[in-house]
């Protein structure tokens, strides 16, 4: 078990989150089941008061969870300094059997929470609160995922043995890796990049033609393609090493923490993009969401494309 100040902070915060999530979850289920917006009964007025309290709890949990995701990555990176064999956060994630599941769950939850926040914002903008039932039913359901994430996170940190040697990212992110990650190395770079840029062009077309559902789906593909291309192609240009594919190392100071910028752009762009398709809103807001998504996704594309371009201009060859 590793118990440095960062892990301790995560443990304390997770305990607080679990406590508030259980309260919010209990109230959410009650509201989702008994809410009747037309009723003028004692129960309904009580639920209206409780819905404000519950929504406030959930909102602040989610708002804190977003920067805490970056703090989690920072912690992984910091632990890698004391874990034998680990060169970055990747080694820490791979150090236990829970790490990869936790990471995937964290990303899924991040998108679900963002969706909840969008839905909540739309709900409180209308005096009839049309999405109250839906948003609390959603939280009632996803709170299990959230509590699962918090518990898994604590189990993962508890299961890390600081004396045993772990794999470094060079081993984990390679074609010889023993995990499912090795499968992505069977993909052809040129084909992958064609799909990546073609998907971006489609996104622009869907933006111009205002096809919000297609735009949202193209964002889901964009997220997956971006993560894979970052590992397979763009990462190697950030490191300027053809065999270094780690998606964690560029979060370190050696690479000016550019990873935080890359992931923030990708996360913000795709969250707004996916929300534009799945969150019911007015035309004006929809247009704004589409625009924000396209701006952030474009900035992401420009940033990651700059690395191979500059490398080629300087060296006259590709890696």
């Amino acid at each position: 078990m590793i118990l440095n100040p960062e892990v301790l902070a995560i443990f304390i915060l997770n305990t607080i989150f679990i406590f508030f999530t259980i309260i919010a979850s209990f109230l959410s289920i009650k509201i989702a089941l008994k809410w009747d917006s037309d009723a003028t009964t004692k129960l309904q007025y009580k639920l209206e008061k409780q819905s404000f309290l519950t929504a406030t709890i959930i909102k602040y949990i989610f708002i804190i969870k977003i920067p805490l995701f970056l703090f989690f990555i920072f912690t992984l990176d910091k632990i890698s300094n004391i874990l034998p064999g680990a060169m970055c956060g990747a080694g820490v994630v791979d150090a236990t059997q829970y790490g990869n599941y936790l990471f995937v769950l964290k990303i899924i939850n991040l998108y679900i929470f963002a969706y909840w926040l969008f839905l909540h914002n739309e709900d409180i903008k209308d005096e009839n609160q049309p999405y109250t039932k839906r948003k609390f039913a959603l939280f009632g359901t996803i709170s299990t995922l959230f509590i699962g994430e918090l518990i898994l996170e604590m189990i993962m940190f508890s299961a890390i043995n600081p004396t045993s040697v772990v794999d470094c990212c060079g081993t984990i992110y390679s074609s010889t890796a023993s995990s499912y990650i090795s499968y992505i190395f069977q993909l052809n770079n040129s084909t992958l990049l064609t799909f990546f840029y073609f998907n971006y062009i489609l996104m622009i077309i869907f933006y111009k033609t205002k096809k919000k559902y297609l735009f949202a789906f193209s964002n889901i593909f964009f997220l997956l393609l971006s993560i894979i291309t970052l590992i397979l192609f763009f990462g190697t240009y950030i490191y300027q090493q053809p065999s270094h594919h780690c998606p964690f190392c560029y979060l370190q100071s050696d690479y000016y923490y550019v990873g935080y910028l890359i992931y923030t752009l990708l996360f913000t762009g795709t969250v707004y993009g996916i929300a534009s398709g799945f969150v019911p809103t007015n035309k004006e807001k929809e247009k704004k969401n589409l625009k924000i998504s396209l701006i952030f996704n474009s900035l992401f594309i420009i940033l990651v494309s700059l690395y191979p371009t500059i490398f080629y201009i300087r060296n006259g060859v590709w890696l």
């Binding site: 917006s37 003028t40 004692k42 007025y45 209206e48 008061k49 404000f52 005096e127």
Partner: protein
């Protein structure tokens, strides 16, 4: 215009102690009416005012103003409703004592982000209407009780609300100033404002400008 349907209001002091302020009351007020709610302290008058103003929600029942269910509004929309429709006159005026008369009257206009010229026009109009323009730069705490009340009335009217709510407006005034307040009410009634006054001041009883007197006792309307 204003309807209170099957309203019950219970204040929960703690899990065991509850106070029933209003018990299944039904009331309606027409536009332009001047209503006096009379009754002893604790009878439920102020609870009615607070429900009409959207300051609190009933335990059961509903409050409808201009076909809008005020009691069902979320807090942020209730604030907008109050800002746009209600003018308050409080027993203790609730002015900001260290600010000038002008600043106090302008306060309700701050959230509206009005153009300075429009705000100035509104300010001058109410200061003239309630005869307080000569004191516009005076700090409120240096004013007499009657002057402070005129400032409070001016502030309540600066946003031209449709409904004026006054809770014991003459409780701190002598008879002369109370009569002068009644003159102001005449003026407001002339402008077709709906005015609801909660009071136990006998000066308001049997006044010719009052359309209806409603007696509230132990949370119920006495017919």
């Amino acid at each position: 215009m204003i309807q209170l349907k099957n309203i019950t209001k219970i204040y929960e002091i703690n899990s065991r102690e509850k106070v029933t302020a209003l018990l299944d009351i039904n009331l309606s007020f027409k536009e332009g009416e001047l209503i006096v709610l009379k009754g002893v302290s604790g009878s439920g008058k102020s609870s009615i005012l607070s429900l009409v103003a959207g300051l609190s929600k009933p335990t059961t029942g509903e409050v409808i103003v201009d076909r809008k269910k005020i009691s069902k509004l979320p807090d942020n929309f209730a604030s907008i409703y109050r800002r746009d429709n209600i003018g308050f006159i409080f027993q203790k005026y609730n002015l900001l004592p260290s600010l000038t008369v002008t600043d106090n009257i302008l306060l309700p206009l701050v959230p509206l982000n009005l153009d300075t010229n429009i705000a100035q026009q509104k300010l001058e109009r109410v200061m003239k209407m309630f005869h307080i323009e000569h004191k516009k730069d005076t700090i409120v705490k240096n004013l007499s009780g009657g002057e402070q009340q005129r400032v409070a009335i001016a502030r309540a009217n600066v946003n031209e609300p449709k409904i004026i709510i006054a809770d014991e407006p003459t409780a701190n005034l002598d008879k002369k100033l109370s009569l002068s307040f009644i003159d102001i009410l005449k003026e407001l009634k002339g402008k077709n404002k709906t005015i609801i006054i909660a009071t136990h001041d006998p000066l308001f009883f049997n006044l010719n400008i009052v359309d209806r007197e409603i007696e509230v006792s132990n949370g119920e309307i006495i017919l």
